[in-house]
Symmetry: C2
Subunit: 146 residues, 2 copies
Amino acid sequence: MDTEAGSRLRGVIARLSRQLNASAAGEGLTPTEASALSVIAFRGPIGLPELTALEGLNPTMVSRIVGKLDDARLIRRVPNADDLRSANVEITADGREANDRIRTERAKVVSESALLLSEDSQEALARALPALEALADQLQLRRVGH
Amino acid sequence: MDTEAGSRLRGVIARLSRQLNASAAGEGLTPTEASALSVIAFRGPIGLPELTALEGLNPTMVSRIVGKLDDARLIRRVPNADDLRSANVEITADGREANDRIRTERAKVVSESALLLSEDSQEALARALPALEALADQLQLRRVGH
DNA sequence: CTTACTTTGCTTGCCGATAAGCAGGTAACT
DNA sequence: AGTTACCTGCTTATCGGCAAGCAAAGTAAG
Protein backbone atom coordinates (compact mmCIF):
# COMPACT_ATOMS: atom_id res chain seq x y z
CA MET A 1 0.00 0.00 0.00
CA ASP A 2 1.55 3.25 -1.16
CA THR A 3 1.26 6.76 0.22
CA GLU A 4 -1.54 7.64 -2.12
CA ALA A 5 -3.67 4.70 -1.06
CA GLY A 6 -2.83 5.10 2.61
CA SER A 7 -3.87 8.70 2.51
CA ARG A 8 -7.11 7.95 0.73
CA LEU A 9 -7.94 5.16 3.13
CA ARG A 10 -7.31 7.40 6.04
CA GLY A 11 -9.45 10.14 4.61
CA VAL A 12 -12.38 7.97 3.75
CA ILE A 13 -12.39 6.34 7.17
CA ALA A 14 -12.57 9.73 8.85
CA ARG A 15 -15.37 10.72 6.54
CA LEU A 16 -17.33 7.53 7.07
CA SER A 17 -16.92 7.88 10.77
CA ARG A 18 -18.32 11.38 10.70
CA GLN A 19 -21.30 10.39 8.58
CA LEU A 20 -22.09 7.34 10.66
CA ASN A 21 -21.82 9.10 13.97
CA ALA A 22 -24.02 11.89 12.71
CA SER A 23 -26.73 9.46 11.75
CA ALA A 24 -26.50 7.68 15.06
CA ALA A 25 -29.85 7.72 16.71
CA GLY A 26 -29.94 5.25 19.51
CA GLU A 27 -31.24 4.04 22.73
CA GLY A 28 -29.63 6.82 24.68
CA LEU A 29 -26.31 5.16 23.98
CA THR A 30 -23.31 6.74 22.29
CA PRO A 31 -21.78 4.92 19.33
CA THR A 32 -19.03 3.52 21.48
CA GLU A 33 -21.41 2.32 24.14
CA ALA A 34 -23.58 0.60 21.56
CA SER A 35 -20.52 -1.05 20.10
CA ALA A 36 -19.40 -2.27 23.50
CA LEU A 37 -22.86 -3.65 24.18
CA SER A 38 -22.69 -5.56 20.94
CA VAL A 39 -19.35 -7.09 21.84
CA ILE A 40 -20.63 -8.12 25.24
CA ALA A 41 -23.69 -9.66 23.63
CA PHE A 42 -21.70 -11.78 21.24
CA ARG A 43 -18.56 -12.62 23.14
CA GLY A 44 -20.52 -13.75 26.14
CA PRO A 45 -19.23 -13.10 29.65
CA ILE A 46 -16.06 -11.14 29.18
CA GLY A 47 -13.53 -9.37 31.38
CA LEU A 48 -12.88 -5.67 31.12
CA PRO A 49 -9.33 -6.06 29.80
CA GLU A 50 -10.57 -8.20 26.91
CA LEU A 51 -13.30 -5.69 26.18
CA THR A 52 -10.71 -2.95 26.20
CA ALA A 53 -8.62 -4.83 23.68
CA LEU A 54 -11.48 -5.82 21.40
CA GLU A 55 -12.82 -2.32 21.14
CA GLY A 56 -9.46 -0.60 21.03
CA LEU A 57 -10.57 1.69 23.81
CA ASN A 58 -8.72 2.82 26.89
CA PRO A 59 -9.42 1.30 30.31
CA THR A 60 -10.88 4.48 31.73
CA MET A 61 -13.52 4.66 29.03
CA VAL A 62 -14.32 0.98 29.36
CA SER A 63 -14.85 1.38 33.06
CA ARG A 64 -17.23 4.26 32.50
CA ILE A 65 -19.09 2.53 29.69
CA VAL A 66 -19.52 -0.64 31.68
CA GLY A 67 -20.74 1.43 34.60
CA LYS A 68 -23.33 3.13 32.48
CA LEU A 69 -24.53 -0.05 30.80
CA ASP A 70 -24.76 -1.71 34.19
CA ASP A 71 -26.75 1.17 35.63
CA ALA A 72 -29.11 0.86 32.69
CA ARG A 73 -29.45 -2.88 33.42
CA LEU A 74 -28.32 -3.74 29.92
CA ILE A 75 -25.41 -5.75 31.23
CA ARG A 76 -24.65 -7.36 34.55
CA ARG A 77 -21.39 -7.71 36.45
CA VAL A 78 -20.68 -11.30 37.39
CA PRO A 79 -18.22 -11.57 40.27
CA ASN A 80 -15.15 -13.58 39.51
CA ALA A 81 -14.70 -16.07 42.34
CA ASP A 82 -10.96 -16.26 41.72
CA ASP A 83 -10.39 -12.54 42.02
CA LEU A 84 -13.00 -10.27 43.51
CA ARG A 85 -11.30 -7.17 42.25
CA SER A 86 -12.34 -7.97 38.73
CA ALA A 87 -15.67 -9.09 37.33
CA ASN A 88 -16.89 -10.37 34.01
CA VAL A 89 -19.76 -8.64 32.34
CA GLU A 90 -22.59 -10.35 30.50
CA ILE A 91 -25.65 -9.18 28.64
CA THR A 92 -29.07 -9.10 30.30
CA ALA A 93 -32.41 -9.80 28.64
CA ASP A 94 -33.02 -6.07 28.38
CA GLY A 95 -29.57 -5.61 26.95
CA ARG A 96 -30.13 -8.22 24.30
CA GLU A 97 -33.32 -6.55 23.20
CA ALA A 98 -31.71 -3.15 23.12
CA ASN A 99 -28.76 -4.54 21.21
CA ASP A 100 -31.01 -6.12 18.61
CA ARG A 101 -32.90 -2.89 18.11
CA ILE A 102 -29.80 -0.75 17.87
CA ARG A 103 -27.99 -3.19 15.68
CA THR A 104 -30.84 -3.40 13.21
CA GLU A 105 -31.33 0.33 13.18
CA ARG A 106 -27.69 1.15 12.68
CA ALA A 107 -26.99 -1.51 10.14
CA LYS A 108 -29.97 -0.25 8.18
CA VAL A 109 -28.25 3.03 7.49
CA VAL A 110 -25.21 1.27 6.11
CA SER A 111 -27.10 -1.43 4.27
CA GLU A 112 -29.47 0.92 2.54
CA SER A 113 -26.65 3.11 1.32
CA ALA A 114 -24.63 0.10 0.28
CA LEU A 115 -27.52 -1.20 -1.78
CA LEU A 116 -27.28 1.90 -3.94
CA LEU A 117 -23.75 0.98 -4.94
CA SER A 118 -22.77 -1.20 -7.83
CA GLU A 119 -22.60 -4.95 -7.43
CA ASP A 120 -18.85 -4.77 -7.73
CA SER A 121 -18.59 -2.19 -5.00
CA GLN A 122 -20.80 -4.17 -2.69
CA GLU A 123 -18.72 -7.24 -3.21
CA ALA A 124 -15.53 -5.29 -2.68
CA LEU A 125 -16.87 -4.02 0.63
CA ALA A 126 -17.85 -7.47 1.77
CA ARG A 127 -14.49 -8.88 0.83
CA ALA A 128 -12.62 -6.08 2.55
CA LEU A 129 -14.37 -6.51 5.87
CA PRO A 130 -11.91 -9.01 7.37
CA ALA A 131 -9.01 -6.99 6.01
CA LEU A 132 -10.30 -3.84 7.66
CA GLU A 133 -10.66 -5.67 10.93
CA ALA A 134 -7.15 -7.02 10.62
CA LEU A 135 -5.88 -3.54 9.86
CA ALA A 136 -7.55 -2.21 12.99
CA ASP A 137 -5.85 -4.98 14.95
CA GLN A 138 -2.48 -4.01 13.53
CA LEU A 139 -2.96 -0.33 14.25
CA GLN A 140 -3.93 -1.18 17.78
CA LEU A 141 -0.91 -3.39 18.31
CA ARG A 142 1.27 -0.65 16.96
CA ARG A 143 -0.13 1.84 19.42
CA VAL A 144 0.10 -0.45 22.41
CA GLY A 145 3.59 -1.58 21.53
CA HIS A 146 4.68 1.98 21.03
CA MET B 1 -25.26 -6.18 2.40
CA ASP B 2 -27.05 -7.78 5.33
CA THR B 3 -27.42 -6.65 8.92
CA GLU B 4 -24.47 -8.68 10.04
CA ALA B 5 -22.13 -7.13 7.51
CA GLY B 6 -23.52 -3.65 8.03
CA SER B 7 -22.95 -3.90 11.71
CA ARG B 8 -19.43 -5.20 11.32
CA LEU B 9 -18.56 -2.49 8.85
CA ARG B 10 -19.89 0.11 11.16
CA GLY B 11 -17.95 -1.25 14.08
CA VAL B 12 -14.68 -1.54 12.29
CA ILE B 13 -14.92 1.98 10.90
CA ALA B 14 -15.42 3.37 14.38
CA ARG B 15 -12.47 1.37 15.61
CA LEU B 16 -10.21 2.42 12.77
CA SER B 17 -11.19 6.00 13.30
CA ARG B 18 -10.25 5.82 16.97
CA GLN B 19 -6.90 4.22 16.26
CA LEU B 20 -6.03 6.62 13.48
CA ASN B 21 -7.00 9.71 15.39
CA ALA B 22 -5.01 8.56 18.37
CA SER B 23 -1.90 8.17 16.26
CA ALA B 24 -2.40 11.56 14.69
CA ALA B 25 0.72 13.60 15.10
CA GLY B 26 0.61 16.68 13.01
CA GLU B 27 1.68 20.13 12.17
CA GLY B 28 -0.50 21.61 14.87
CA LEU B 29 -3.47 20.61 12.75
CA THR B 30 -6.36 18.43 13.80
CA PRO B 31 -7.21 15.42 11.62
CA THR B 32 -10.04 17.27 9.97
CA GLU B 33 -7.93 20.34 9.29
CA ALA B 34 -5.22 18.22 7.74
CA SER B 35 -7.78 16.50 5.60
CA ALA B 36 -9.23 19.80 4.44
CA LEU B 37 -5.77 21.05 3.59
CA SER B 38 -5.23 17.97 1.49
CA VAL B 39 -8.43 18.52 -0.43
CA ILE B 40 -7.54 22.14 -1.06
CA ALA B 41 -4.11 21.09 -2.27
CA PHE B 42 -5.44 18.60 -4.79
CA ARG B 43 -8.70 20.12 -5.92
CA GLY B 44 -7.06 23.44 -6.60
CA PRO B 45 -8.91 26.67 -5.90
CA ILE B 46 -12.19 25.64 -4.43
CA GLY B 47 -15.22 27.29 -2.88
CA LEU B 48 -16.30 26.65 0.67
CA PRO B 49 -19.54 24.89 -0.28
CA GLU B 50 -17.63 22.39 -2.40
CA LEU B 51 -15.15 21.86 0.39
CA THR B 52 -18.04 21.29 2.75
CA ALA B 53 -19.49 18.67 0.44
CA LEU B 54 -16.24 16.90 -0.29
CA GLU B 55 -15.34 16.52 3.36
CA GLY B 56 -18.82 15.83 4.58
CA LEU B 57 -18.42 18.52 7.19
CA ASN B 58 -20.84 21.21 8.25
CA PRO B 59 -20.48 24.79 7.04
CA THR B 60 -19.67 26.18 10.45
CA MET B 61 -16.68 23.90 10.82
CA VAL B 62 -15.48 24.63 7.32
CA SER B 63 -15.57 28.34 8.01
CA ARG B 64 -13.50 27.90 11.13
CA ILE B 65 -11.06 25.51 9.53
CA VAL B 66 -10.51 27.77 6.56
CA GLY B 67 -9.99 30.67 8.93
CA LYS B 68 -7.35 28.78 10.85
CA LEU B 69 -5.52 27.51 7.77
CA ASP B 70 -5.58 31.02 6.36
CA ASP B 71 -4.20 32.50 9.57
CA ALA B 72 -1.41 29.94 9.41
CA ARG B 73 -0.71 31.00 5.81
CA LEU B 74 -1.22 27.45 4.60
CA ILE B 75 -3.99 28.51 2.28
CA ARG B 76 -5.04 31.81 0.79
CA ARG B 77 -8.46 33.27 0.10
CA VAL B 78 -8.84 34.37 -3.50
CA PRO B 79 -11.64 36.88 -3.95
CA ASN B 80 -14.26 35.82 -6.42
CA ALA B 81 -14.76 38.72 -8.81
CA ASP B 82 -18.29 37.59 -9.56
CA ASP B 83 -19.40 37.54 -5.96
CA LEU B 84 -17.42 39.21 -3.26
CA ARG B 85 -19.34 37.48 -0.50
CA SER B 86 -17.66 34.24 -1.33
CA ALA B 87 -14.04 33.44 -2.00
CA ASN B 88 -12.19 30.45 -3.28
CA VAL B 89 -9.34 29.05 -1.28
CA GLU B 90 -6.08 27.77 -2.69
CA ILE B 91 -2.97 26.26 -1.23
CA THR B 92 0.15 28.34 -0.59
CA ALA B 93 3.74 27.21 -0.92
CA ASP B 94 3.92 26.75 2.85
CA GLY B 95 0.69 24.84 2.74
CA ARG B 96 1.93 22.51 0.06
CA GLU B 97 5.02 21.70 2.07
CA ALA B 98 3.01 21.11 5.20
CA ASN B 99 0.56 18.95 3.31
CA ASP B 100 3.31 16.80 1.87
CA ARG B 101 4.84 16.27 5.29
CA ILE B 102 1.55 15.46 6.97
CA ARG B 103 0.39 13.26 4.16
CA THR B 104 3.56 11.21 4.18
CA GLU B 105 3.57 10.93 7.93
CA ARG B 106 -0.05 9.89 8.18
CA ALA B 107 -0.03 7.50 5.32
CA LYS B 108 3.01 5.83 6.84
CA VAL B 109 1.02 4.67 9.83
CA VAL B 110 -1.55 3.04 7.57
CA SER B 111 0.92 1.68 5.07
CA GLU B 112 3.20 0.10 7.62
CA SER B 113 0.34 -1.66 9.31
CA ALA B 114 -1.13 -2.70 6.00
CA LEU B 115 2.17 -4.27 4.99
CA LEU B 116 1.86 -6.66 7.88
CA LEU B 117 -1.35 -8.05 6.45
CA SER B 118 -1.62 -10.91 3.99
CA GLU B 119 -1.39 -10.22 0.28
CA ASP B 120 -5.05 -11.03 -0.05
CA SER B 121 -6.00 -8.56 2.63
CA GLN B 122 -3.93 -5.83 1.07
CA GLU B 123 -5.50 -6.42 -2.28
CA ALA B 124 -8.96 -6.46 -0.74
CA LEU B 125 -8.27 -3.10 0.89
CA ALA B 126 -7.04 -1.57 -2.33
CA ARG B 127 -10.03 -2.84 -4.24
CA ALA B 128 -12.46 -1.60 -1.59
CA LEU B 129 -11.12 1.93 -1.59
CA PRO B 130 -13.40 3.30 -4.32
CA ALA B 131 -16.32 1.43 -2.82
CA LEU B 132 -15.71 2.99 0.58
CA GLU B 133 -15.56 6.42 -0.98
CA ALA B 134 -18.77 5.76 -2.85
CA LEU B 135 -20.37 4.58 0.37
CA ALA B 136 -19.35 7.77 2.12
CA ASP B 137 -20.92 9.72 -0.75
CA GLN B 138 -24.16 7.80 -0.36
CA LEU B 139 -24.28 8.28 3.39
CA GLN B 140 -23.71 11.95 2.92
CA LEU B 141 -26.45 12.28 0.32
CA ARG B 142 -28.77 10.45 2.63
CA ARG B 143 -28.07 12.86 5.45
CA VAL B 144 -28.38 15.96 3.34
CA GLY B 145 -31.57 14.74 1.74
CA HIS B 146 -32.94 13.88 5.13
C1' DC C 1 -1.63 -17.35 61.54
C1' DT C 2 -1.47 -12.28 61.88
C1' DT C 3 0.07 -7.82 60.69
C1' DA C 4 2.13 -4.65 57.50
C1' DC C 5 3.55 -3.33 53.02
C1' DT C 6 3.15 -3.57 47.95
C1' DT C 7 0.86 -4.48 43.76
C1' DT C 8 -3.11 -4.89 40.85
C1' DG C 9 -7.84 -4.04 38.83
C1' DC C 10 -11.10 -0.97 38.62
C1' DT C 11 -13.48 3.51 39.61
C1' DT C 12 -13.98 8.50 39.63
C1' DG C 13 -13.04 13.46 39.46
C1' DC C 14 -11.20 16.62 36.78
C1' DC C 15 -9.68 18.68 32.45
C1' DG C 16 -8.53 18.93 27.41
C1' DA C 17 -9.33 18.02 22.38
C1' DT C 18 -12.27 17.53 18.57
C1' DA C 19 -16.29 18.38 16.17
C1' DA C 20 -21.40 19.52 15.64
C1' DG C 21 -24.72 22.97 15.56
C1' DC C 22 -27.68 27.08 16.75
C1' DA C 23 -28.20 31.99 16.96
C1' DG C 24 -26.95 36.24 15.64
C1' DG C 25 -24.01 39.39 13.13
C1' DT C 26 -21.89 41.60 8.78
C1' DA C 27 -21.31 42.39 4.06
C1' DA C 28 -22.61 41.70 -0.71
C1' DC C 29 -25.76 40.44 -4.00
C1' DT C 30 -30.76 40.73 -6.33
C1' DA D 1 -35.81 45.25 1.47
C1' DG D 2 -34.88 40.55 1.21
C1' DT D 3 -31.71 36.88 0.41
C1' DT D 4 -27.33 34.77 0.54
C1' DA D 5 -22.47 33.67 2.07
C1' DC D 6 -19.75 33.70 5.52
C1' DC D 7 -18.03 34.52 10.32
C1' DT D 8 -18.23 34.09 15.46
C1' DG D 9 -19.72 33.30 20.18
C1' DC D 10 -21.67 30.03 22.82
C1' DT D 11 -23.19 25.42 24.03
C1' DT D 12 -23.21 20.48 23.71
C1' DA D 13 -21.56 15.63 22.83
C1' DT D 14 -18.10 12.30 22.62
C1' DC D 15 -13.87 10.57 23.76
C1' DG D 16 -9.09 10.48 25.79
C1' DG D 17 -6.22 10.51 29.70
C1' DC D 18 -3.93 11.74 34.17
C1' DA D 19 -4.11 11.23 38.99
C1' DA D 20 -6.08 9.99 43.18
C1' DG D 21 -8.65 6.62 45.60
C1' DC D 22 -10.41 2.04 47.01
C1' DA D 23 -10.72 -2.73 47.74
C1' DA D 24 -8.78 -7.31 46.85
C1' DA D 25 -4.73 -10.02 46.25
C1' DG D 26 -0.01 -11.05 46.91
C1' DT D 27 4.20 -11.06 49.80
C1' DA D 28 6.85 -11.28 53.74
C1' DA D 29 8.24 -10.53 58.51
C1' DG D 30 6.88 -11.36 63.09
